[in-house]
């Protein structure tokens, strides 16, 4: 009698093991299969499945969000790793208390100074106006980098993946509030990576040494990039708050410096209008007595 009971036990155990260990291919909907693959860090395979799914269902917002996340995974961004940085923004003290207006810093009420971009009546020459605008732009970029320093950096080789992720998120038909938060997060990481690698390049950014080797074309491209994403963040903060993300509404006020920085960048563009990159570089070198 003991033997049949043992057989029952063994057979049932094996049956259970067979059922529970079954691999999930073919019968699982594409999005669910993609999520499972991303859980296992198989982002490339997940991206292929989602790309194919979107070719058949181009209006599927959820698939686009997942595909964007797969691209970010491929770019090497693990949200868990930046959670500590991100939670300061969304969960704990406001950005204003930490960076823009820390109570211990008497000069922090207006970190960009009281000056505004001068009008043509206020300066003697285009060179002077360009230099003032450049100075403001550099200050604003330094401030931005101070804040962005907390975020991880993406290697330049992976930037196309970040662009692809943003493109997916921007093409969603009816994005939810968390989509806007995700877009903002991606832009912040992207901005940090771009500024560090393309604009500042080394720790001498803003110094005389940096000015003497000033590359106006590169700086102009950097400002254009910064302005595009800074204004996009400003817009997305507003849209996310309107969708119910109340914390984004609060953060919107604290991100005012991004919009200010974008204005300074615009000011530099206006003052340097009509000048060649070489002429701007010469103004800078003359200002810093590089010769």
């Amino acid at each position: 009698m003991r033997r049949p009971i043992s057989l029952l036990l063994i057979a049932t155990t094996l049956a259970a093991l067979a059922g529970c260990g079954k691999t999930r291919t073919g019968t699982i909907p594409p999005k669910e299969e993609a999520v499972t693959l991303m859980d296992r860090s198989q982002n490339a395979k997940a991206a292929r499945i989602l790309e194919a799914d979107l070719r058949e269902n181009p209006d599927d917002d959820e698939a686009r969000l997942l595909l964007a996340s797969a691209y970010m995974g491929l770019a090497g961004i693990d949200v868990y790793r930046i959670f500590d940085a991100f939670q300061d923004l969304l969960f704990k003290r406001s950005l204003k208390d930490q960076i823009i207006s820390p109570k211990s810093d008497p000069n922090a009420k207006n970190p960009l100074g009281n000056g505004k971009i001068p009008t043509k009546d206020e300066v003697k020459s285009q060179a002077e106006g360009t230099m003032i605008a450049l100075d403001k732009s550099v200050s604003s970029l330094q401030l931005a980098l101070l804040y962005l320093d907390r975020f991880p950096q993406i290697p330049a080789g992976n930037w196309p993946l970040v662009e692809a992720a943003l493109a997916q998120l921007e093409s969603m038909r009816d994005p939810a509030s968390d989509t806007f938060t995700y877009r903002i997060l991606i832009r912040l990481i992207y901005l940090k990576s771009y500024l560090v690698e393309k604009v500042m390049r080394n720790e001498q950014f803003g110094s005389r040494e940096w000015a003497c080797g000033f590359d106006a074309r590169n700086f102009d491209e950097g400002l254009a990039f910064f302005t595009r994403h800074a204004l996009a963040i400003d817009d997305e903060l507003g849209q996310g708050a309107a969708k119910g993300a109340k914390a984004l509404g609060k953060a919107h006020k604290n991100f005012g410096f991004l919009a200010d920085a974008a204005n300074y960048a615009d000011g530099f563009g206006e003052w340097s209008q009509g000048l060649t990159f070489s002429e701007v570089e010469n103004f800078v070198k003359a200002r810093f007595n590089c010769n």
Partner: protein, 361 residues
């Protein structure tokens, strides 16, 4: 002949646990995990694959099918504490349900383990011939799972219940001598549950009001589970067959997560004679009208008792279990190892270890 039946039982188990998962993971998380759709949250019930109608007396001395109450010979008072998979998660679940949701609570979910699951039940049960009553002041079931590390999304289900159950049964013989092999019984359940159920992303957790995407719900219910049973007492295998309905009554309000639908159930049990100890095998057919697949209707449980020790195995559409119960005169301990299909993870395999301590008077 016996061996053929054994293989037949194994085939039933194979059909229960093989094949395509009945509940594939949903990115919208619209269902309650299968292992949470349970009436009896005890080690005995879990270890026996949650069979009820096919079983006369559970290993802990309680009776699930009220129609078998007339067969109870002894009176027992059992106080028990069941805990499945971890103590720390119990606090998390309790905070989540009973305290105002905060961003810090949300944050803690994302900072912890990827899977947090816990089940707990505290209950006091009195059983005597023809009657039983149980008060369970606290029953908690909680699971949260994180998915997609690139854009974390959390699936969460948490429910806290308290219930009072009273059941009675009579032998058919008192109605008509020709019905002496029949028994009739019914169980009345009054329960109150609070639960939250939903899915949200880590970005939502940081920016949105938690109550917007994870509202807390409350349900009260009064439900009857009448059943009828036939027992072939004088036959060598003591076969028993039972038919019952469940959830006759009302729930207010009605929620998709806990529909409490009326349905029909049946159970067949046998007690093969063995030289030493006692073997009982039961097969339940549950939710005959509403279960989505054939496998979801099947539950299988068997136990072998020798001396103070009772070994149990069980299987249903989502879980295979193995349990041991050790009982002294007044103290019982049980350990159940569950090997189940994780509904929230597209049917991936997970394991749980549950323990129960009960004092029997």
């Amino acid at each position: 002949m016996l061996r053929l039946r054994v293989f037949a039982a194994a085939a039933v188990a194979a059909s229960l646990l093989g094949g395509t998962p009945a509940f594939a993971a949903s990115s919208y998380f619209t269902f309650v995990p299968a292992r949470f759709r349970t009436l009896e949250l005890t080690a005995s019930s879990r270890a026996l694959g949650e069979i009820c109608l096919s079983r006369d007396q559970m290993p802990d001395g309680t009776v699930c099918n009220p129609a078998y109450l007339p067969d109870v010979r002894d009176s027992t008072l059992v106080a028990r504490l069941y805990l499945g998979n971890g103590y720390s998660a119990l606090t998390t679940a309790n905070d989540f349900i009973n305290k105002p949701l905060s961003k810090e609570t949300m944050q803690a979910l994302f900072s912890g383990d990827n899977v947090v699951a816990v089940e707990g039940n505290v209950g006091l049960n009195f059983t005597t011939g023809g009657l039983s009553a149980e008060f369970a002041p606290y029953r908690v079931q909680y699971v949260s799972e994180l998915h997609n590390p690139n854009f974390p999304v959390i699936d969460l289900h948490a429910a806290i219940e308290r219930s009072f159950v009273i059941a009675g049964g009579i032998p058919g013989g008192i109605l008509d001598p020709n019905l002496r092999e029949f028994r009739f019984g019914t169980k009345a359940r009054i329960l109150e549950r609070k639960f939250v159920h939903g899915e949200f992303s880590f970005a939502q957790a940081g920016t949105d009001d938690p109550r917007d995407y994870l509202p807390s719900k409350k349900q009260t219910a009064f439900l009857l589970d009448p059943s009828i049973a036939w027992v072939g007492e004088k036959r060598p295998w003591k076969p028993r067959v039972s038919l019952g309905t469940k959830n006759v009554g009302f729930s207010s309000p009605s929620y998709d997560e806990y529909p409490n639908d009326v349905d029909l159930e049946a159970g067949v049990g046998v007690e093969p004679p063995v030289r030493f100890g006692r073997v009982r095998i039961g097969l339940d057919l549950v939710d005959l009208f509403r279960a989505p697949t054939f496998e979801d209707r099947l539950r299988l449980g068997a136990s072998y008792q020798v001396g103070l020790l009772e070994t149990m195995i069980g299987a249903n559409a989502s879980v295979f279990t193995f349990g041991l119960m050790f009982g002294l005169n007044f103290l019982q301990t049980a350990v159940v190892y569950e090997f189940f299909r994780d509904d929230l993870d597209g049917g991936g395999a997970e394991t749980r270890l549950s323990t129960e301590l009960s004092i029997r008077l």
